[in-house]
Symmetry: D2
Subunit: 270 residues, 4 copies
């Protein structure tokens, strides 16, 4: 007679938990924009242990992703009101112990289950509305094809304020598309402590490395791109306004999350 599940709320049957025990399976369509921000903006979001990458101090990548999710055998994708969600991810380049990595300062999803799995992994997810143009297999004035000249848009909003928007125009297949996993992701996993009024050391404060298993990718395409960020009282994305947009990419990928590597415990980061 015990509680079941992996995250809150634990429950008698374990069906209520926001996150079940991994593995967690994902299939997503990605619109990706690589760009350069002010190196000071990148530096300002790095947790202790990460330092600016001197070879690419302003290097950033933004992702607009339409995901489908299923637990092991759970087939949540068949109930797409539960199994689908959309995500905006910002990754910034850094070095960890001299190795090129990236870290995620800001990330938005439109589903609570994805937010919970994110927190558990060290992705600092907030709620946002993310939309991405879908590719289409037929020519139409209402949709792009994955072909030269195909144009795809992405946008992010939260609480009725637009926070980011991007457009990518495909030019050609991409030999080396930028994707999730191009650089190792080192995130800050963090969970605060309220006892004592919020000023005590956090309960969880550690650098972690994301482990993507079974990642597969379709052939990717690349092209020119544009991305803009907008100010909001409760977000700081606009500090990453591009000083130069590098390249846009589009592809699909699958991956499985079943584990996480703790790199080091931190004392605090504030």
């Amino acid at each position: 007679m015990s509680l079941q599940g992996f995250s809150v709320p634990l429950s008698p049957e374990g069906r209520a938990s926001l996150a079940c025990l991994p593995p967690w399976h994902y299939a997503g369509d990605l619109l990706v924009v690589a760009f350069e921000a002010d190196p000071a903006a990148v530096k300002a979001v790095l947790p202790p242990g990460l330092e600016p990458d001197p070879d690419d101090p302003g290097g950033c990548v933004a992702f607009f992703v339409a995901w489908q999710y299923a637990s092991e055998g759970g087939e949540e994708y068949l109930d797409p009101a539960r199994g689908q969600y959309n995500e905006f991810i910002l990754l910034v380049n850094a070095l960890y112990r001299g190795q090129p990595v990236c870290t995620c300062p800001y990330i938005f999803v439109d589903k609570d289950t994805a937010m919970a799995r994110g927190w558990i992994q060290g992705w600092p997810k907030k709620h946002g509305e993310v939309h991405t143009t879908r590719a289409f297999p037929l020519p139409s004035m209402a949709a792009p094809q994955v072909a030269p000249g195909g144009r795809f848009g992405g946008s992010l909003a939260a609480d009725g304020r637009r926070l980011a928007e991007a457009v990518v125009e495909l030019e050609r297949p991409s030999d080396h598309p930028v994707s999730l996993g191009t650089r190792q992701v080192v995130n800050l996993r963090y969970f605060p402590r309220l006892a004592g009024g919020g000023k005590a050391k956090p309960a969880v404060c550690e650098l972690v490395r994301s482990i993507l298993s079974g990642a597969q990718r379709t052939d990717g395409w690349e092209g020119s791109a544009d991305i803009k960020f907008f100010p909001a009282p409760d977000n700081e994305l606009d500090a990453f306004q591009p000083v130069r947009v590098r390249r846009g990419y589009r592809h699909s990928m699958t991956m499985t999350i079943a584990d996480l590597e703790v790199l080091e415990e931190l004392d605090d980061v504030r």
Copy 2:
């Protein structure tokens, strides 16, 4: 110095209108379930001028569609927060002047612009949340492929109540997939009159025939299917609970709407 646009709100520049002047371009991914309901349920929703099809008195088709839309040159699909929407359509078979047609008693969308364009065409759209499983080009536990055994789900909810759900399991390519346009669509275009307390003859009450131009379809797949409807105080979809589910289909299509044929004016239908 005049107002611009096609629907309310007309505005100085015409940008504010929910619907602009056609043509309206659409590209959609369709999950389709053909089924038989109680013939009495079908008969009960037919407007004057339509009669039950004696060869298929309970014949119905439900669609779960993920659409992208653009006006002529408007490229709304590049701002997918505006250019995308999802739709549930119920079509029931009937005869019009002895010809096999179908008509739409109930239809739900998640975007005001689609609702407005619908009303104008005689589609009696309400707001609903519609989700459909997306196909995926790679094998994954989180998504189906368009291949034998690929399973796709669809659901409809309104105001936090689930109204419909379906699952289709693909078996093989389909020689004659059921789609939008398989039968001519004859709808009741209706706009009431409030002056006099709502009991006067409606301002608009006519049978119209939908005109889809430039419709193209990808190769379709078919397989077994299931669909269920649920009761709600402000919907009557559950009168169409299937007595037999026939077949499920999945394909993509493009179409353009630029015109409408008025078949006949009706006096009233109440």
Copy 3:
């Protein structure tokens, strides 16, 4: 054996209709901002038959309202997922046949039923997310009281873009609060015709006068106010950027809508 209801979708039992037969009962909490816009912006939205009010050529009023609705005996307010909605209304001053009136160029609601009842009455409603600060009977840092210094905010967003925001700081009870009904409302009731490609004369094009019956109002408060509009590709609200903000008001009201007066038929307005 006929169809029931008042608006689409007509249905066998009439429960599915977006709008039932009136009377329609409303109870709302209103945050109101009276302001002056560029007179050219006001003039540009007036339909034929209305002309600028020379005594107040830029006069506008914006409303942020939290409504509860019920049909006659329907008690929809007991199922607040259906019976509540929020609304932003812009009214601009004008003359009709020499009499001071106002008209509504833009209005947004967050519920399909309210949008349908609006169209039927000549309110050109679109979907928008509207939020208004609620008054509170106890002192709190989290809520204002209806008392001197009480501050209330309102906002409007659509498709993830903020379109309007306002703040009102109460100073004192108001002898003559601006409200719905302060000036007669003359709206353009309009429903287009698609047959022929959208260029034919509209099916419905008439000036109508709103009839509020049984309106009651609580004691109102007034104070200083601010309001701002923001640009968006599919809205023209920002043409009404205030040149001067006059006054803010806050009160509650009830009303019943059961009829509409058609003032005159127009040929077209485009």
Copy 4:
């Protein structure tokens, strides 16, 4: 040069964090239903350290709350798109070290910030759509008054499925209204560990006592009530289907959260 804020995402200015440093101020309108569930359902959700209350083994209270929130000096209530949220809370009675307490197995909110503050305090929040009838100061067919016969509804839905609904009919002022704080709240604060595949001991697993400071309450009303729960694949609320509904209550309250008491660390609860 460090990161600011209290929860993820920590950021250079601290504005991006879902939760800022407390104190957190709340003002809410509460609809409350006290009822008895199957004692086995209550027992099944108690974490180690809590045991059934032999004097009230099936005692439960459900809350539907419309909250306004502000941080210290943040005035978020003036931007109600950010500062308002709605919440459904289920509390079940129990004993902790022989003292009567209650604990929260399930709770739903419609805002990410509230979800984050909840997790941090040991409230196992998920996303849900919660609606509650608002009281109105004038008689109307569209709204209840706080007076004998006034009826108020509440509902909860998640992912387009209705999970709970309630109606309370007021009879008279209440001498001892059931509210938040009537019993001390002892919750399980829990944050899992993914490293090692999710089977390791959680990072945070402790019993905590909620500390409400500065709680004030308006005069409350009480009356007859009804409440129902509905099944869903990812929720277990329907295990609490009432065997007897006791009483409904309605009142408003303010409170401040600034601290939390850790009662004991647990090893694990699964």
